[in-house]
Amino acid sequence: MERQNKAWTIFRYVTIAIGLFIVFFPIYSVLISAFKTKVEYYNSGLALPHDWFNFDNFRKVFKVGRLGLGFKNIFIILVVSLAGNVLIGTMVAYALGRFDFKMKKPIMGMYLVAQVIPMITTQVATFQVIKFLGAYNEIYAPMLLYLGADVLQIVIYLQFVNNIPKDLDESAMVEGASLFKIYRSIIFPLLAPATATLIIMKTISIYNDFYTPYLYMPSRKLQVVSTAIYSFVGPNASEINVISAGILIIFIPTLVIFLFLQRYIFAGVTNGAVK
């Protein structure tokens, strides 16, 4: 038994080591390439770069690839859509969680069914809506599309709303608070933990999104990080060292968020699955 356990332990560590190798090998190869000159890249294989302080590639990808603009645009889009999204999510959760009315079930059902429609397949038609609203090739297009709450968000918020004791509402009402005030000073602040998780998850998914900016904002001025690196790669395919520098920079923001806010991300992921 003892021996068997030992073998099992060794087996577990070996498989973990293989898993870690597969995860980190591509990242390692990006990391070393980002600091190499072009000649060095093509000659040195997997060796470490000569000079870890060679930032030429980073400078070049920022300038030619216009990554700075990409970061600026995605940041604006994120701030506006997340602010709207949190407002909408909490408002819907308050209305659905605290009141009984005829349309309650249909509205909940509407969110549930909408989730089943794969967004990517309806783009042909969504495209016409965006054009009709005059948002095509404007920064508002992705904002509008990211604004709406999805069912997962509503479900998570509803769980939180249901856990807030109704006594709090009632004692506020005794003191003469309006319903709006109850939402603003009781419900909204108490939803903060859920809001934190949702903001982080949405930030990652909006930052990663490719097809929305690609389809709706072809203008070069409106490039976000996804579309900037995409259009940089085509004409500069041979400069893998510069491309690697770009990849590395683009990896950093979400990686930093993950390292510091893991707890929220894991909570969001597990909540999402259990539904």
Partner: protein, 292 residues
């Protein structure tokens, strides 16, 4: 504040808080889905508003042109990859919930690919797979497996595997963390009891672990399936569909925006929508049967 009765306030709140969200959902989910259905029966090009009713012609075309419906075989690679990913993720989830030093650090490290930028990941793999200068072939050479070197993206028999692997690499950590969450919610008592009864490791897994995580496992399978059906950005960013790597969605997008056949593309989207809904209903039915 305003001295309105709570009854009036209630109406104001309900209208004020729900009108915009409902309108958003109608405008960006329901209206597109319905108009898609209409477009699918027309020969609309996607430019201007000229369109003629053509009945089921678009649907006939989808099923009679193998280069349209046949691309589903490329989606199959992502499905098989997804199944593999689910199995491996379950194994690692079990390992990382067992008593093991450093398991939390390992969990975080294996999860990292999921948070990395998706376009950058695809480009990273494009460089990695490069025949001559890609790290993968260089590495194989270095460890004496030079004969295993491949044209990872050039070989038509291999390219879809290479692309599906990227999807495994990115999403494996996510599946694993979801399984870990499910495993941790199994009461420890069950395992204690099994131990007292002298159950082997395999028996414990088969009769305690598996049944407890069954619903999550089913959910992961349906997500794998719908994810595979909707696979799009990896082949699109990597190859622009070249070398027979088109998936159904990337073909749809090209049909609509590149070849200006929006009517046909709409019909393709509807076909996909129906397939996805059919699978989801099937899964719900299966779940329902169990509860009975």
């Amino acid at each position: 504040m305003f001295n309105l009765s709570y009854k009036t306030q209630r109406i104001l709140i309900l209208f004020g808080f729900l009108t915009i969200p409902v309108l958003l959902s109608l405008t960006f989910s329901y209206y597109p889905a319905l108009s898609l259905l209409y477009y699918s029966f027309t020969d609309w090009s996607g430019l201007g508003w000229e369109m003629n009713w053509v009945g089921f012609d678009n649907y006939k075309e989808i099923f009679s042109r193998p280069e349209i419906f046949g691309v589903f075989k490329n989606n199959a690679y992502y499905f098989v990859g997804g199944l593999l990913q689910t199995c491996v993720a379950l194994y690692f989830a079990i390992v990382l919930t067992s008593k093991l030093k450093g398991r939390n650090i390992f969990r975080s490290m294996l999860f990292i690919p999921y948070v990395l930028h998706s376009v950058a990941i695809v480009i990273m793999f494009r460089n990695l797979y490069h025949v001559e200068y890609g790290s993968l072939n260089i590495f194989l050479e270095a460890i004496g497996l030079g004969s295993w070197q491949q044209q990872w993206l050039g070989n038509p028999h291999l390219v879809n595997f290479s692309l599906a692997f990227i999807s495994i690499w990115k999403y494996f950590g996510l599946t694993m963390v979801i399984f870990i969450g499910a495993l941790q919610s199994i009461p420890a008592d069950n395992y204690e009891a099994a131990k007292i009864d002298g159950a082997s490791g395999w028996q414990t897994f088969r009769f305690i672990t598996l049944p407890s995580i069954r619903s999550v496992l089913e959910l992961m399978l349906i997500l794998t399936l719908t994810g595979a059906l909707e696979a799009f950005d990896i082949p699109y960013i990597m190859m622009l569909g070249a070398n027979d790597t088109h998936t159904f969605v990337s073909k749809t997008i090209d049909m609509a925006f590149k070849f200006q056949q929006a009517g046909l593309a709409s019909a393709m989207a509807i076909v996909l929508l129906l397939i996805v809904i059919a699978f989801i209903i099937l899964q719900r039915k299966l779940l329902f049967r169990e509860e009975k």
